[in-house]
């Protein structure tokens, strides 16, 4: 007998059960799809950060920076060059072109190391026009569209430029940013001659920032991508439940075939190899489909993710996807690995179980009572571990560890919980049929438990993430109302106009709140220091988390500063702690405010304290307090009488709307992934019910023979499914809430630096319950129709074939 004949015999199983094959392939493909979709999104985003960082920050090279984020005198650069160091100066800052704020990066093209070739000035004419007045802005195509007509400078479009940034000659940067003779950093080329005097003696006031494989943005967004990966993995795990149960069933159903083949002389190893080959083949086929679906999912998700990253971190990611080998390979690898893991048990059993043991399809899921006991113990251990992690561990990884232990532990516990529930119901019922109903449900439980576990995970994830997002939204909206207290926000185009604006506004509004900030580095982190005036607006509205009673007096007098929650938590600061804001500026932390959506640390100081240290700070932006009914008048006179472009005036409502829109986009991706996961869980349920329905004849036939009609039997099947669904759903609620709590109180704090109060939204549960119910009904539809249409002869055959 040739191997080919054996293979055909084995494969014929799938020909007779196309639905089973379909479930296996679909389960595997969907799991791979979600995983590789998420990977594709992550890979695209990371590649884009790397591009931006390499282009804008030259982060592949070391830099000299001033420890307090102060500027570096140009003379320091010249001193280094004259000592033979191959270094290049950079001056960067923000500049407004109309309503568009750009990160302006001034470089010196003659000394910029060739490794960081971002601006292509290979043409000598380009170089000359880049360094000669009036100067050239090198920008991305999108940015060029935005600022075209808003500047007299020449624009050069480069595809290699990230959005929102412009390369200019360092001389032009000095003029635009009004920072004559200053540098923000000095790039150190790799190519240096030997025998140089050390940097420490040449520039003792500067410190070297080593090249980082990771950019700032990449670091900031790490938690976001970890979130996505966790979600992708959850979906994959749910998908694997399908694969596991389908493969187990297929092995068990083919046991007679195996026996026959073995009797015909096929060796055990040949059989095992063939089965393994079959699985790998399926895995590869499903993975190919999965990666393609994953690509589609990723293309659907990416614009949302890009919007999120833009809104949350200011990271620019293109909305289009390119095919990257890393996630193709990762998709195939995880599909094959997942299939092998899910089939290990079946393969081992094939090797171990004696050749002539009778095939008993219903035994496969009911592996053993000891197995279940072990499962409960493992669940208890995992739940205990998650508790221990909450208490004693910290860090984002620990947060995800808590989530993982909690979910896995709870799902392992589920069969025991359901079994207990069914036993209770069985004991409490009296009628024979009702007792049979519960007993039969319990008997079915092992076969369904994997699907139910998948369902539990999906439902709990939905409840948890939904609660987290809704709690966040509620808090965020309330916070916005407090934070955006000024009725109008305006921006002058230059300092003289700002002076004029202040004078013009003096008699027209209740108060003018300057919005001035400097970018600095505090405790090694990039930060912003905002200066605020002493105004009732802040005293009444600013959302403080903790603070001394006279906090605003202390800020106004310059004696203390406020820090945002992120910075406060990250640095474990306490009220009364001293903070080095600059080399000659120490201040006391007197309060902490919440600052959602800001990835960076922030400090609020009195405006006088700020301007005395940073006299050059930009004073272009203002918040204006007026009676709400005067807003439209003021707005029109600002643009008509004063002559401010309409783009430079934003009212509170528009700003809030914009913030809310960003917020909603932020969680669009999470919502989409939630739905996908639920879909996979429904599929798992469907495939389990389908396979069970094929095996249930021996149980149903006697009941039918005792006089219960097929219609009633079908009805009972529906009821049983619904009972199991409901029981799982109710188990999912507390688990989901626990999940939400971990997300809000552990993961968010670690990932973003803020902790949110938890709110409960029962209405959302009802909606989720209804969706789940609908999925349940759909999933039993095919098995049910098969049962209802079953010929009595089929049922009778059970008795004829009694084994």
């Amino acid at each position: 007998m040739t191997i080919w004949t054996v293979a055909t015999a084995l494969l014929s199983h799938w020909r007779r059960r196309p639905l089973q094959l379909g479930a296996l392939m679909l389960g595997l493909a969907l799991a791979t799809a979600l995983w590789s979709g998420v990977q594709a999104v992550n890979a695209e985003a990371r590649a884009s950060y790397a591009r931006a960082a390499a282009a804008l920050d030259q982060n592949g090279l070391a830099h000299l920076v001033s420890p307090h984020g102060r500027s570096i005198p140009r003379a320091a650069f010249v001193r280094l060059r004259r000592a033979g160091w191959n270094v290049s100066p950079v001056l960067e800052g923000e500049y407004r072109f109309g309503a568009t704020r750009l990160r302006v990066i001034g470089i010196e093209p003659l000394t910029m190391p060739a490794e960081t070739q971002t601006v292509d000035l290979r043409n000598a004419g380009d170089l000359l026009s880049f360094i000669s007045p009036p100067g050239t802005l090198v920008v991305s195509p999108d940015t060029a569209e935005k600022i075209r007509g808003k500047t007299d400078l020449a624009l050069r479009v480069s595809d290699r430029m990230p959005d929102g940034a412009a390369f200019v000659d360092i001389g032009l940067a000095e003029r635009l940013l009004r920072r004559d003779g200053e540098l923000t950093r000095i790039v150190i080329a790799e190519n240096q001659r030997p025998g140089l005097e050390p940097l420490g003696t040449l520039a003792p006031a500067l410190s070297v920032r080593e090249p980082s494989a990771q950019s700032d943005v990449e670091h900031l967004t790490e938690s976001f991508h970890l979130n996505l990966t966790a979600f992708g993995f959850l979906a994959f795990a749910v998908g694997l439940f399908i694969v596991y149960s389908t493969i187990g069933l297929a092995f068990e159903q083919r046991r007679p075939t195996f026996r026959t083949l073995r009797c015909l002389g096929v060796s055990l190893s040949a059989l095992a190899v063939l089965l393994l080959a079959e699985l790998v083949l399926f895995a590869l086929a499903a993975a190919a489909a999965g990666v393609i679906i994953g690509y589609l999912i990723a293309s659907l998700l990416l614009p949302g993710v890009a919007a999120t990253l833009e809104g949350l971190y200011g990271a620019s990611v293109p909305g289009t996807l390119s095919l990257r080998p890393e996630w193709w390979l990762s998709g195939f690898a995880i599909a094959v690995a997942g299939t092998l893991v899910s089939s290990t048990q079946s393969l081992l059993r094939l090797m171990r179980v004696p050749l002539l043991t009778a095939a008993q399809p219903q035994t496969w899921g009911r592996a053993s009572q000891t197995g279940r006991r072990f499962q409960v113990l493992a669940a208890a251990a995992l739940l205990g571990l998650s508790g221990a992690l909450i208490l004693w561990a910290d860090g984002l990884q620990a947060g995800f560890g808590v989530l993982g232990c909690l979910l896995l532990g709870a799902s392992l516990l589920l069969p025991a919980v359901l079994s207990g529930f069914l036993t209770l119901m069985q004991r409490a019922s009296s009628g024979a049929l009702v007792t049979w109903f519960w007993a039969d449900a319990r008997q079915q439980l092992p076969g369904l438990s994997l699907a139910l576990m998948a369902l539990l995970l999906a439902l709990a994830a939905n409840v948890g993430v939904g609660t987290m997002v809704s709690s966040f939204r509620l808090t965020f909206v309330g916070w916005l109302d407090q934070r955006l207290a000024a009725e109008l926000y305006v921006a002058a185009r230059n300092e003289p106009e700002a002076d004029r604006l202040r004078a013009w506004l003096a008699t027209k509004v209740e108060s003018v709140l300057p919005i001035s900030s400097v970018d600095v580095e505090i405790r090694g982190q990039p930060m912003q220091i905002f200066g605020v005036v002493d105004d009732p607006t802040y005293r009444e509205h600013w959302p403080l988390i903790v603070g001394l009673p006279d906090v605003w007096d202390r800020v106004a007098s310059g004696e203390g500063v406020l820090v945002n929650e992120q910075f406060w938590r990250r640095e474990r600061l306490r009220i009364g702690d001293q903070l080095d804001l600059a080399s000659d500026w120490k201040s006391t932390v007197v309060g902490v405010y919440s600052d959602y959506g800001n990835p960076k640390g922030q400090v609020i100081a009195g405006i006088n304290a700020l301007t005395s240290r940073y006299p050059e700070v930009s004073r272009l932006r203002y918040g204006l307090r007026v009676q709400p009914d005067q807003v439209p008048d003021l707005r029109s006179s600002l643009s008509d009488e004063f002559g401010l472009p309409p783009d430079n005036i934003v009212d509170q409502a528009a700003l809030k709307e914009q913030s809310r829109r960003i917020f909603d986009r932020t969680f669009l991706v999470t919502g989409a992934l939630n739905i996908f996961t639920l879909g996979v869980a429904a599929l798992a349920m469907f495939s389990s019910l389908l396979t069970l329905s094929e095996m249930r004849l021996p149980q149903l036939a006697p009941v039918w023979a005792m006089g219960v009609t097929r219609r009633d039997l079908a009805l009972l099947e529906v009821l049983r499914t619904l009972v199991l669904w409901l029981a799982t759903f109710f188990t999912a609620l507390p688990l989901g809430l626990a999940l939400a709590w971990v997300l809000l109180a552990v993961v968010n704090v670690e990932a973003f630096g803020w902790r949110l109060p938890m709110h409960i939204f029962p209405y959302e549960w009802v909606r989720l319950g209804l969706v789940a119910l609908a999925a349940a009904v759909v999933s039993i539809f095919i098995p049910l129709r098969r049962l209802a249409g079953l010929a009595p002869s089929e049922l009778l055959k059970v008795f004829a074939n009694e084994r």
Binding site: G84, A114, T116, L128, D169
Partner: protein, 357 residues
């Protein structure tokens, strides 16, 4: 940003129409031979020192060009070159990055086996590169040519010179044994029949001591050096494609500077005979005859590396041989520059520069 780009830009600026094959020079922000807004050399102007040792920002291009024929105690021959070029995008100087002046430094050491080259490019206005007339100093990054501290003597009479790169470096002390020598007509050096000209003077009388740092170790050297100072705004006519330039230290103690500017026709030659006591005797155009003797394959092309020079009116006829055929300056503007020896009616050593090949 590639160095090559700067290269071409600079090439266009400095050599105006020389590098015609690489880029259309006329297309370059008005960098054709016309000197828009820039000063143009005029005959009859006398040099004023030390001011003229410094930069002339109102002229388009300028250089401080030093070549040295050196010898180790064991008789091994070496050549060393140190050059600072200035090129102006506009005829003015300004403080800070807005300065339109651009500086480029070339350093090289030639042995019979190797030719080491390095290049530096810098913006003016910030102090990274520049020239100060008194006390004399010309520098780019850590390379420097520095005058002596004897205020009564000429600023260029005593010089220290250094350059360090990744694989070589040198430190030389130069001491002039003769006066500064104006080239051409009292420093007005005509470059074409159409009248293109530059201001040009030399200090050909340096005695040199110092050391070379080579990959094989340090070598103490002594020898002779020649400094050229030249500035202009329209040095070449449009049809001129390159030059062959010689500076010769004759064993008789006399010096000869001679060049040929190549064009489609016979070319334009010019030479100055310098007596041993430093008196220039400018020769009429065409008095020097230059004929290639041998070519070598250098940087992918055939370049004449051995020449026959004749000045019939003076009974002068020599044939030059390079120390190293491959003295190719693989800088942004590539050219050939290396030490030579010659024999014939008189023997000696010198330097040869060839551009536009």
């Amino acid at each position: 940003m590639s160095v090559r780009s700067i290269a071409i830009a600079f090439a266009v600026m400095i050599m105006a129409s020389l590098s015609g094959s690489q880029a259309a020079p006329q297309g370059f922000g008005g960098l054709s031979s016309a000197a828009e807004g820039f000063s143009v050399p005029q005959p009859g102007l006398l040099f004023r020192f030390p001011d003229d040792h410094g930069a002339h920002p109102d002229f388009r291009i300028e250089w401080w060009y030093l070549t040295a024929n050196l010898e180790a105690p064991d008789g091994t021959q070496y050549g060393a070159q140190w050059t600072l070029f200035r090129s102006a995008l506009a005829p003015r100087e300004a403080k800070g990055w807005s300065s339109p002046q651009i500086w480029m430094g070339h350093a090289a050491v030639t042995t019979s086996e190797d030719h080491f080259v390095a290049e530096r490019i810098s913006r003016g206005g910030v102090g990274q590169a520049g020239v100060v007339a008194e006390p004399f100093s010309a520098w780019i990054d850590d390379w420097q040519m520095k005058g002596g501290d004897t205020p009564e003597a000429d600023q260029l009479a005593e010089l220290t010179l250094n350059a360090t790169a990744k694989d070589f470096g040198y430190e030389l002390r130069l001491s002039a044994t003769g006066p500064l020598v104006p080239q051409g007509n009292n420093g007005y050096s005509v470059k074409s029949a159409q009248g293109q000209a530059s201001y040009y003077y030399s200090q050909p009388f340096y005695a040199v001591t110092g050391s070379l740092a080579l990959p094989t170790g340090n070598v103490d050297v002594t020898g002779k050096a020649w400094l050229d100072r030249e500035w202009s705004s329209q040095p070449l006519a449009e049809d001129q494609t390159g030059w062959d330039w010689f500076s010769l230290h004759l064993d008789s103690g006399e010096k000869l500077m001679g060049f040929r500017l190549r064009d489609k026709g016979e070319g334009f030659t010019s030479a100055t005979w310098i007596t041993a006591d430093g008196r220039p005797e400018p020769l009429p155009a065409g008095a020097l005859q230059i004929v290639p003797v041998r070519t070598a394959k250098v940087a992918g092309g055939q370049i004449p590396v051995s020449w026959n020079l004749r000045i019939p009116s003076r009974g002068f006829e020599v044939t030059t041989q390079p120390l190293n055929d491959q003295a190719w300056m693989a800088t942004s503007i590539p050219y050939w520059e290396g030490p030579i020896t010659f024999g014939g009616s008189v023997g000696g050593r010198g330097y040869l520069e060839m551009t536009g090949y």
